[in-house]
Amino acid sequence: MSFDLQTLLGGLYLGALYGTAAVGFQVVLGSSGRVHLAYGHMWIAWALLLSSVHVVGSVPLPAVLPVMVAAGWFVGWFLHPVVLWRGPLSNERATSFFLITLGAALVIEDAGSRLWPLPGTAMAWAPEPFVLAGVTLPRAKLALMGAALITSLGVHLFLKRNRWGMALRAWDRGRAPVYLAGVSPESLGRRAAGLGFALSALAGGFLALSYTVSIREGMAMTVRALVLAVLGGTLSPLGVLGLGMGMGVGEAFVGQVLGMRWGPAVGYGLLLFLLPVLERRRT
């Protein structure tokens, strides 16, 4: 069985979407230092919301997507500052964060399965693909992959050039560097949560525009985002996106060679084998 370009492209499209969501997950992880267990559910809920509003409500996409991203920002801004506050990680705080986000995941899944009992998609919007040298190139997915790259580059520049972004990167070393950057940790936590959840809304929109989604996939998506965010290192959007695309390609080729049912195991395999290697390199 040969490795073909079409399979490679399929993996890249899907991996770019995983990567976009994982960038948001990493921002939340980087600002809170904790794993947000409801992140994948929110990602999927945004996708289902877009498919409902656009397909059922016939609201045009250019109107839906920006509003959804803004709503994601506000969800992060208003709901998360208390739990995202990076204080000393006592056992109680870690446990309560774990329980709050796990509870949120269960609530979203339960409410979501009532709101959206059926899987959703908005992929009927996609225009006809074009063929180049025998390879089919879907315009919609190419556009979304481009948007994913631009988004990750934007977050990368924000972290490198912007005062708030630099403070966020410095937060790992304690509060002092944050104050030195002239930034209030509380405001920084709110902004980070806003950015992280705005990215989850954007990635949810991308997912609905190109694939079918069900609310029951939430936890699997959280695990995927976690794998990419952990392997991507400390607040590295481009690294996370690259890994996401690598994971997508890995799933596609493993599926082609070993059978489709083995594809999803790639993420766990990456975590198992790459994490010790990366840890050694970082230390």
């Binding site: 079409q6 399929g10 009992p117 899987p119 999803p264």
Partner: protein, 388 residues
């Protein structure tokens, strides 16, 4: 004093000597419906269908049990498309709700799990849309199924292709769950018997999202038919990507191609063939009552093409109750298995393992509707092949 004693004695004699008319109580039927989760695309609103069945029966004074009419009660839970939950809900139906009869959940995996509760409690269990042979090869005594086993599920489609002599090759895309696997196993044999060459097959998990390698393999082989043996979410995912990547066989056949499939795919769903149990032109069994049930429950037939199979289950259970003459479990089970019943989908009879004889008809999506395309004497429109 003697007069009082005599009066009391007389009253007692009258009371004890008079046969007291005791109502035999309602007939209780239990079921679960996948109102949420993976299978909600197939049967989400069917609680309303079951309730409409009870309403129409009770409007007539109840269901006939022997010669007596008894009220019909249906108890329905949401199984969330979850096997473990379905099994627990059927155990609850048996132990807490004490139902006399059970109507199975949607799908083979859920039925496989749920029927264990019925078997343990000795309650007649009538499966509806669950035709994996694995369910009926366990030696269970308390199970029967309305529809034929999965391997024969598409036999009329292959008969049609053989008669038309149009297609020569087929490629299978299969969801890795019980029913689609069972349909595929039978269909691949039937395809070869019909003279088609099976060029290949690919099995993928139910939540597969990227089909690039499968589509590329199919495109290289250029089959006449791409046969998608899958539930709706998988089929929509695959078909959307197949269209996007320019896979153009002469025909797509999706075994589940309801209105939800059609609306999700837009124009890519046009001329896709699939399977249907019934269309409004068919006048067998209690077809008028079925239309009334659809009307009462607000269920659109094209969105939920499995509704006729549930109507057939209602017809089988009503006939069994009338014949059995009581709600005794053993008598009811024998009445289900040993008799033939006229249903909206035709005459149903059961084999010794409980499997019924109802099967589907090939249908094709045209515009916003569906046309039965085979057999010729039941077809509502000719088969359009290849896809324009």
């Amino acid at each position: 004093m003697e007069r009082i004693v005599a009066l009391i004695a007389a009253v007692l004699v009258v009371l004890l000597g008079t046969p007291i008319a005791v109502s035999a109580g309602p007939v209780r039927v239990g079921a679960t419906v996948s109102e949420t989760g993976h299978f909600a695309t197939e049967v989400g609103p069917f609680r309303a269908l079951l309730e409409a069945w009870a309403e129409t029966a009770n409007a007539e004074g109840g269901v006939l049990v022997g010669g007596e009419r008894r009220p019909l009660e249906v108890k329905v839970y949401d199984d969330r498309s979850d096997e473990a939950l379905a099994r627990r809900m059927y155990a609850r139906l048996a132990v807490v709700d004490r139902v006399h009869l059970m109507i199975g959940p949607y799908s083979s995996p859920l039925t496989f799990a749920a029927s264990i509760a019925a078997e343990n409690q000795g309650i007649p269990f009538l499966a509806v849309c669950a035709n994996s042979p694995r369910i009926y090869s366990r030696g269970f005594k308390w199970i029967a199924c309305v529809i034929d086993e999965a391997p024969r599920y598409t036999h009329r489609y292959w008969e049609m292709l053989e008669a038309g002599n149009k297609a020569e090759t087929v490629f299978f895309v299969v969801e890795d769950t019980l029913h689609p696997q069972g349909v595929y196993e039978g269909a691949s044999v039937l395809a070869e018997k019909a003279g088609l060459q099976v060029q290949g097959s690919r099995v993928a998990p139910h939540d597969c999202r990227d089909f690039s390698s499968v589509i590329e393999a199919a495109r290289r082989l250029d089959p006449d038919i791409v046969f998608v043996s899958a539930n709706i979410p998988f089929a929509v995912q695959f078909m959307g990507q197949a269209r996007e990547m320019g896979l153009r066989p002469r025909e797509f056949h999706a075994i589940h191609h309801s209105g939800i499939f059609r609306r999700s795919l837009g124009k890519a769903a046009q001329y896709v063939t699939g399977q249907s149990y019934w269309s409004p032109g068919m006048t067998l069994g209690q077809h008028d009552r079925f239309l009334e049930l659809l009307d009462r429950s607000g269920i659109e037939l094209e969105d939920y093409p499995w509704a006729p199979a549930y109507m057939m289950a209602f017809e089988v259970l009503e006939a069994a109750l009338a014949r059995a003459g009581s709600t005794d479990a053993a008598g009811l089970m024998a009445a289900i298995l040993e008799n033939e019943t006229e249903t909206i989908g035709g005459l149903i009879r059961f084999r010794s393992n409980g499997v019924g004889s109802i099967n589907t008809y090939p249908s094709q999506i045209r515009g916003k509707g569906y046309e039965i395309i085979w057999p010729a004497h039941k077809a509502t429109a000719p088969h359009i092949y290849p896809t324009p």
